[in-house]
Symmetry: C2
Subunit: 700 residues, 2 copies
């Protein structure tokens, strides 16, 4: 680890008059910070082009004078930092954290309160946060609203989803900022829990593109003990303002100085690929909090899941129970409905399949009692996370899995009842330790209990992190679904191995995702951390899986392979059922081969909403894997293989869309070819509409 | 145990037209239940006198048709029950549970929903509840409001405190029902958390007296997983209606059939003493839920507490910490303020005192870190319930106590942050087990977290019981302060050894309690279970304890002794400090002698707001103890000792107010006398204004 930390201190008095300027290490980005008529403001440029016009900053408090105006600059501190660190898992082996920092110390003379604005400027963007040092006149305070503005310099194109306190599972809309209002209604479809707040409210990470060729991304980093930020657009002036998630009584955050807000981030480049390779969000998070991380391992898994999601099978065991009370229940007296795939025989089948094909784990959903009436009832004691259904022999199945070198993956659906989950958490993790589980997929479907709290409020954000740190005490990895969107906390808590927090593959079986979906997610949702996208669906026509289904997977089969590379995650599912994979074992070979942890990643081509092509080098190996995902227009590439070791020969196995493939009518048409290549080669590749390709490259 | 259970079943059709009538076993009480124009109603008489005029019953639901009208009677079931049971601890050795039960099965034809009204009629009152059997059209539902009416037959005299979702710590007001509205403002004084809802809203248990000599008490029994009921008075028509505590979003209760509400109780007699000897509330609760109760033991204790409450000492350790963050704190680097009595030396002094005088336990408040800024900050992580202050050696002090046959009593103040408490609960109870604590005083001071929840809502009621049942797994007894008022749950969960839930002795040092206070509490607050009233204050002039105090204890010293008998509790504190007791060791002898568990109790004289005289026989012994508490008018008795064993001689030690004693000017004037008595004797006794007397009677 090399680390440089240089501090410059200026006297306050000399500087009060002038705007403060700070530049990125490469000098391309400039951030100016000033106090105008008592109001703090900042602006930002990239290569002389405006990224953020002058934008005001401040917080409104509950029952207290606001922290928005009446400020003067009391001091200025600038520092530089340069360190290279190694993530426990990640897209690259090393990550460089290099920034220049400006802290503007503000004083509000009328109240004698202090607030610092801290800016860190990187070559690929910047982050700022509000800091509240220990001081006599501001210790405990409640945030009514945060008024951080992000003034845009034009009617940019944006890839956005509707602002919502309870769901992120929307399809992205590509539009001008000025069109958000009129497109909002159409951008919202139904969800188990949803609360919109504004016709121009959108979520972060928000990816934009300017007419003069800049890519700008707004998000946040290190969301800890604060509520999640949305953005509300003043679409007359094209000014975004932070919009925090309220708690049950409408407050936004409870603060205790010394403290600070999360980072508000602005990534910028004139090359879309830089948006994808940026580590700005991770760098703004704290280093790993755990001393021992040897127990944290990337996971490739299959699971008893798609049968229910797409196949019409059930998480429940019986139809006999209209009202389940867990402690007074005898399932052995009920009649099984026979549509419960979390049973011994079926799970053994998955274990056998996983063992045969080298998967690490088998997820089993619906293993535990309570699923007969788990959803939408505002039910407090909904699951005990302890008691298996009569047809799921937890000991036998774990023993069987372990005998084959496979683990089962635990599933904890909370139904949003988080007090109940916390009450059972220790015992639930104990149960996992007892039977040898080391990873849990948790879920937060439906409205929250405590009632009135939202999925992305401070209360729940505190809970999600509690679940992760408690799990760490048990050496358990967490993959939380329906939890708040990630903000890089996996750097600090790398047992947060995955999240959903966006519209995943499951929607392909419900109502479909846009063909462009996977060309947007890496620019947005994935900025904060990996997504358990559950790719690998080979049967696109859901009617063939479930006669009652009208779903269609808007992707070619070749693209499903590519997603293992384009959707970076240390946790990857092969989501389809064994019967389907057995029909396409040649294509399935790519899923078996592809790595889930990487020493290097090179984004070769990228344009949000259009295409992404990335090459990654497997962790500790010389194998490379390439993936391409394309929107409904397809994509043609001439790939230079210059990332390969010079002078070395590789065997490339190319999984491509067939010439007549397309996501709608002919998704399963693929061609597998092999060729010997070197770093000097170029590959002409073509992704079909809604298609893609995957390539494995192994040294000969 | 003798038990009789006889069931009569009538066909529904034959009975739909007529009102159903059910009588108490002794025939004195009659309850009529009817459905009039589709609305369920009931009425009640005692000895021909009206107790409840026809009053309607029903529930309003959230997003569903109400359960208030459109009903017809679908069936009638009457049963009788007679059983005598033995409480783990109590006022008497045996308790008879003898009632006639009427279940009126209601059907709402428009919705095909079922709701039963269950009435149990005892000789001393009745209880009713709503029951919801399992049924196709009503499983999960949310109560918007419960509309249970209690129509009074006149402008009764009532002893009431203001309805409030967050505190019960008010002084009682005696007034006509018609005067409640105009007296309400004056009946409310400040509290750490308070939320009134109506100018005619009052709390249960509400004691009333009619002009024709009936004593009527309204309360509830078995409050489990429902919100606590207040009463709102229509003071034109003198009709009370149930008023439930709302949750953060305004809902009152979340229900899952099969289920039922708590019991709504109406106690009645023409003799005030029957109000005090009634076991109706206990009888309406379920039998003990624990198989082994051998670990549950009544407790007499002293504690490091009054020094802070009245003496100006501190729970905290230092003044150096304006902002305490528990996990990043090093108390050893702070300067102790020297006013922290929970220190090794002082606690050892209490242990020595307890051992010398035969007390079971020593409560120590302020032992754990975090007290520097614990209150009023809406602080989530406020205590860890684990870490002692540097001057409290938890191992040494417990070892020292045990070596002297004494235990320490744990203290868990939650500051209303119940998620934090639940997160630490298991470890907190483990710590208690490790060091040999078997009882905890818990506290819920201040506004609740989760924010928006109230002290008496369903969320918290669920929590309080959770804390008790989790404690039971550790063989720990719970004495919860600021928790919901008890409703007899100590029958089912007898490790709920005490509660505060009313204005206790601490207020004597703040602003005083009315001299009549302890003549009201047994009629009201104590109906649901014992109170940790913390009597035994011998120094009434708080200035002598703390020069800054203006407090005065509105009681004579003799009455402080009597409270150990009149305020029934298996948990009794001698609340004053050892230095004070050492000045009055002759009077202190009564506190040493008095029992805390009883085989028998005889209420000799009683009038709410005036006086209470009770004699109790010590558990497993032949000793009797008599106590009298009187209001500002004092009280003169001629006590027949006919409760003593016939033909047996006893030594009576009489602790009486001196002739010139009174609570204001001369509270410490007492006279101790001894005489030999038999069951044939009568004692002429006189309680001074705000005074009382205590008598111990031991067989010679």
């Amino acid at each position: 680890m090399n680390r440089y930390y240089i501090t410059f201190l200026f006297s306050a008095a000399a500087l009060c008059a002038a705007a403060e300027e700070i530049k990125s290490p490469d000098g391309k980005i400039t951030v100016n910070v000033d106090v105008k008529d008592g109001v703090p403001e900042y602006s930002m440029t990239f290569d002389g082009k405006t990224v953020i016009k002058p934008s005001s900053l401040g917080l409104e408090l509950v029952n207290d004078k606001d922290l928005m105006s009446g400020f003067e600059i009391a001091g200025i501190k600038t520092t530089s930092f340069d360190e290279t660190w190694q993530p426990v898992w990640g897209e690259t082996k090393d990550i460089r954290n290099n920034y220049n920092q400006l802290v503007v110390e503000l004083r509000q003379p009328s109240t004698e309160r202090l607030m610092n604005l801290c800016f860190r400027v990187y070559d690929d963007g910047m982050g700022f946060r509000y800091e509240f040092p220990q001081q006599p006149n501001l210790t405990y305070f409640v945030v009514k609203d945060e008024h951080s503005q992000f003034a845009m310099d034009g009617d940019h194109t944006a890839w956005w989803i509707a602002g919502d306190y309870d769901t992120q599972e929307y399809d992205y809309t590509e539009s001008r900022l000025s069109e958000i209002r009129k497109l909002m209604d159409g951008a919202i479809d139904g969800n188990a829990s949803q609360t919109q707040f504004s016709p121009t409210g959108v979520q972060t990470s928000l990816q934009m593109k300017t007419d003069n060729g800049l890519y700008i991304n707004l998000h946040e980093a290190a969301l800890v003990d604060y509520s999640c930020m949305h953005l509300n657009l003043d679409d007359k002036n094209m000014v975004f303002e932070s919009w925090l998630t309220p708690d049950a009584i409408g407050n936004k955050a409870y603060m205790q100085a010394p403290t600070h807000t999360p980072w508000r981030t602005v990534m910028v480049s004139d090359d879309a690929r830089d948006m994808l390779s940026s580590n700005l969000i991770l760098n703004l998070n704290e280093p790993c909090a755990y001393e021992d991380t040897s127990w944290i391992k990337p996971v490739k898994y299959v699971g008893v899941w798609w049968e229910m999601i797409g196949g019409g099978k059930e998480w429940s065991y019986t139809y006999d129970l209209p009202s389940v009370k867990l402690d007074s229940l005898d399932y052995s007296k009920t009649k099984p409905h026979g549509r419960h795939p979390a049973n011994n025989e079926n799970v053994k089948k998955y274990i056998d399949f996983a063992a045969e094909h080298g998967f690490d784990q088998v997820l089993v959903e619906g293993w535990n009692i309570g699923w007969e009436d788990w959803f939408g009832k505002s039910k407090d004691y909904v699951f005990d996370f302890q008691t298996p259904y009569p047809d799921f022999d937890i000991k036998m199945l774990n023993d069987y899995a372990h005998s084959k070198g496979v683990r089962l993956m635990m599933h904890h659906e909370t139904s949003g009842s988080v007090r109940n989950y916390e009450r059972h958490m220790e015992k639930a993790y104990d149960l996992m330790n007892k039977y040898g589980y080391n990873a849990v997929k948790s879920g937060y479907v439906g409205n929250m209990i405590p009632r009135g709290e939202h999925h992305y409020g401070q209360w729940l954000n505190n809970h999600y992190l509690y679940a992760v740190t408690e799990a760490a005490k048990h050496k358990i990895m967490v993959n939380a679904h329906e939890a708040v969107r990630p903000t890089g906390l996996c750097r600090t808590y790398p047992n947060l191995i995955g999240n959903e927090s966006a519209r995943g593959t499951e929607y392909e079986s419900f109502s479909g995702n846009k063909p462009s979906h996977t060309t947007v997610l890496p620019f947005t949702r994935l900025q904060g951390g990996p997504m358990d996208y559950t790719p690998g669906i080979f049967e696109m026509d859901m009617k063939k899986v479930n006669p009652n289904s009208k779903g269609h997977v808007n992707s070619t089969l070749a693209r499903q392979l590519a997603l293992y590379v384009t959707m970076y995650s240390p946790l990857q599912m092969a989501a389809d059922v064994p019967e389907v994979y057995n029909r396409f074992l040649d294509a399935f070979q790519f899923i078996k081969d592809v790595a889930v942890d990487w020493d290097d990643s090179r984004y070769l081509e990228a344009e949000p909403g259009r295409y992404i092509v990335v090459a990654r080098k497997a962790k500790g190996k010389d194998d490379w894997f390439v993936g391409c995902t394309a929107n409904e227009d397809g994509h043609t590439s001439t790939l230079s293989l210059d990332f390969l070791d010079k002078g070395r020969k590789y065997e490339a196995v190319i999984y491509a869309d067939a010439p007549d493939a397309n996501y709608k009518d002919n998704p399963q048409a693929y061609v597998i070819s092999k060729k010997k290549v070197t770093s000097k080669d170029k590959l002409k590749m073509k992704a079909a509409p809604g298609g893609g390709y995957a390539i494995s490259l192994k040294p000969l």
